[in-house]
Amino acid sequence: MNDHTLPFAITLDPGSSKQNHTGSWRSERPVYVDRLPPCNHQCPAGENIQGWLYHAESGDYAEAWRALMRDNPMPAVMGRVCYHTCETACNRGKLDEAVSIHSVERFLGDYAVEHGLTPPVDAPPSGKRVLVIGAGPSGLSAAYHLTRLGHAVTIREAGPMAGGMMRFGIPKYRLPREVLDAEIARILAMGVTLELNTKVEDIEAAFAEGFDAVFTAVGAHLAKRTEIPAHAAGRILDAVTLLQQVEMGEAPQLGRRVIVYGGGNTAMDVARTVRRMGADEAMIVYRRSRKEMPAHEFEAAEAEEEGVLIHWLRTIKGIEGADFTVEKMVVDADGRPQPTGETEVLEADTLVLALGQDVDTTFLTRVEGVQIAKDGVVSVDAHMMTGRPGLFAGGDMVPAERTVTVAIGHGKKAARNIDAWLRGGVADPAPKQELAAFENLNTWYYDDAPRSVQAQLSLIRRQSSFDEVVEGLTEETAQYEARRCMSCGNCFECDNCFGVCPDNAVIKLGPGNRFKIDYDYCKGCGICVAECPCGAIRMEPEVD
């Protein structure tokens, strides 16, 4: 007790209520969490999308790009060709429209190329050598990640140029080659050795040569065929060969009318390419309906805009010169096409088969331990390794969806597993956090903000040139779009918890350092949890 004299009738010194630890009232406590945003969860390349958008929001595009590059070495390519399933998963889609993640990614990719940004190599040299077979997206991604992890990488590519299906499968109007070349050059500049026109026939010889591990990602290039009775048929080509020839500047004469057979993205790409090469009539014949087609809706829609005519529910029964007899089909309850017996005749000069591709696995058949599955793809374990220790595989040649994004994700996953294997361990990825569901958000705090639309090239130019169809965002629209991100499950320091606590029991730790709860005074009311816009706080029961 102080020794000064208290006023009349007062027996206790005044004190602060802070001596009253109201935290003892609590039965539940708020805890800060980082939940997994649905976009990140969905991304086949394992990008931390919310993480890189966070930097783009403040205009730090270089940092945003570096965050992106931790997972994906080709953002400018990816922002153009990825089918962005992240946007289907985006929680903002439940509020107004999904964030246009791909267009911001493309902006960052182009920004980095324009400003000559380069990725850092994080690890000291390991002294290990890795051979990558195939310079497609998977091989390039693996080479990039292995280099960042300190290993010396050589890529051997059977073809005359690097890029794989990004170059020989995706037409220029979707992916301009200077963009592709710039991102490949950046990977090579990190010290990756690229040997072109070098087909690897003997895996064991490569090991004997001194490579400590081998990653094979040769893709799927063998065009599938079908039996069509043909008498004196005109020209028949396959889609992969045609796209390759176009890329090499060796395009064949196709005539005025071209039929493309198939309903996948490749069929759409070929029809749109053929249109640009001057064919008056580019037709697609597909045995099922629009609902069942494997192509993405936007690809079919863009093809139709450009004048491609799609004949749904038709199979080709026979070819007589320029006359193609097609049979009408109906789709049964299981989604399978069934013949009707009704036929009609279409006229065309050239037929292009776009029926899918198989993997050429002949170079692996002699390797002991490697398992080739029934459908011609190579079996790998959870660590992307084949039955031959040290031989890893990824991309289109292993069982998975065949997209550039999946391939790039395989490259990263393989690189991490190869790195662990070379260091005598097993890659042990951190366990996934719980998903940031829409129900975790308090969306009242987000303003209504419609999605930015990417401008498109005029239809006339789309039908006659290989100029890029979809245009990029300006800096202003890219930042606007980034700021539409709701930061699902991850604190973005909006100060709501700090503000709404009736007990001043949230401590602000300053920019970049987020907040902490003062459990001496937190009564556990849960307002901070309810009013956190992004669902980055959770109530947990008090245990003792």
Partner: protein, 337 residues
């Protein structure tokens, strides 16, 4: 009203609606976003979990402290706010603060203002505050006199719609149909009756004082802008702040801000400003909701939602009150209506 004050740029991630925003200038963030805020009421106070009044009082007084540069005296009517902050010998107040009795806070504040004037401390501002009981019932006469004399005091009412500290008895601010200890949910018309009570902001407006505003703990930017505006002018001013009470309303402690928001978004609690008796600005409803969304989570309205016996006529009567507010103040954008 607040459209010209808080910020010019729209921030699409957080809108204008979160407490702070790293993408915004420090100056454009709320007072509550600042680690240097006064924290007029500090930790350790004995308010219930999720107390809306503790929150509303800190929001308002911290904004007033910033606006006055810390040169401010607060006078308090008896009520929850006093009981939970100041059980002798403890105090949660970190500002110059003066106790008064239940009914005379406006008169005491008038006296403080006069004393400051006499001593030449013209820069010291006076704020008086009380709950709805101390304001609309017990202190009503003193408050009306303070308005009528246009004394240089900002009076803030924290309205939680009943006498909570003494055991949830009805006040003249209790809404129709609400159950309180003195308006039980029994008989043919359970809960508080329709057609009585006082609309204190409109009574204040009828005094033609320089400034009257309503605010909510669910819209901090708006609340701070109104307190700041009130502090910038002289004479008698009145701000009526809506503060949900989990104890008295039978609501979850984490729903305090949400209920305040639903009261605004349903139209039951209109946000507006008035100067010299005329409404000068209203805050439009962003996402209109039926009153049912607001009523259903509250225990004091539970009797309206008995399984199989929903009291539709009463719910519709409350909806008509909200609709009347929406019409009277123009709370819904024309093209959105």
């Amino acid at each position: 009203m607040t459209d010209d004050t808080p910020q010019k740029v729209r921030f699409y991630q957080t809108g204008t609606h979160t407490v702070g925003n790293r993408l915004m200038d420090e100056a454009a963030r709320t007072v509550q976003a600042s680690p240097d805020r006064s924290n007029a009421i500090t930790s350790g106070h004995r308010a219930c979990q999720g107390c809306g009044e503790a929150l509303g009082a800190r929001y308002a007084l911290d904004a007033a402290m910033r606006a006055s540069g810390g040169r401010m005296v607060a006078v308090n009517a008896t009520g929850c706010l006093e009981v939970f902050t100041t059980p002798s010998p403890e105090s949660s107040w970190q500002i110059a603060w003066l106790h008064s009795v239940f009914g005379n806070a406006p008169a005491v504040a008038t006296g403080v203002a006069a004393a400051m004037r006499m001593r030449g401390k013209t820069d010291v501002r006076v704020v008086a505050q009380g709950g709805d009981g101390g304001t609309t019932d017990i202190g009503f006469g003193c408050l009306s006199g303070m308005f009528e004399r246009n004394d240089d005091v900002l009076y803030i009412c924290y309205d939680n719609e009943a006498y909570m500290n003494t055991g949830v008895q009805r006040s003249s601010a209790t809404p129709p149909a609400a159950r309180t200890a003195t308006t039980q949910a029994i008989g043919p018309h359970p809960g508080n009756i329709f057609g009585t009570g006082k609309n204190m902001p409109r009574i204040a407006m009828a005094h033609n004082i320089p400034y009257v505003a309503t605010a909510s703990v669910a819209d901090l930017h708006d609340l701070e802008a109104k307190v700041t505006r009130a502090m910038s002018i002289g004479g008698a001013r009145y701000i009526h702040i809506f503060v949900p009470c989990p104890l008295g309303w039978g609501s979850a402690s984490h729903d305090t801000v949400k209920l305040a928001r639903l009261a605004v978004e349903s139209g039951l609690f209109p946000l507006f400003e008035a100067e010299h008796g005329e409404v000068t600005a209203v805050k439009k409803i962003r996402h209109q909701v039926p009153v049912e969304d607001y009523l259903r989570p509250q225990g004091r309205f539970r009797h309206l939602f008995r399984e199989g016996h929903e009291d539709r006529p009463t719910i519709e009567a409350i909806q008509r009150m909200a609709d009347a507010n929406i019409r009277r103040y123009g709370l819904v954008e024309e093209d959105a209506a």
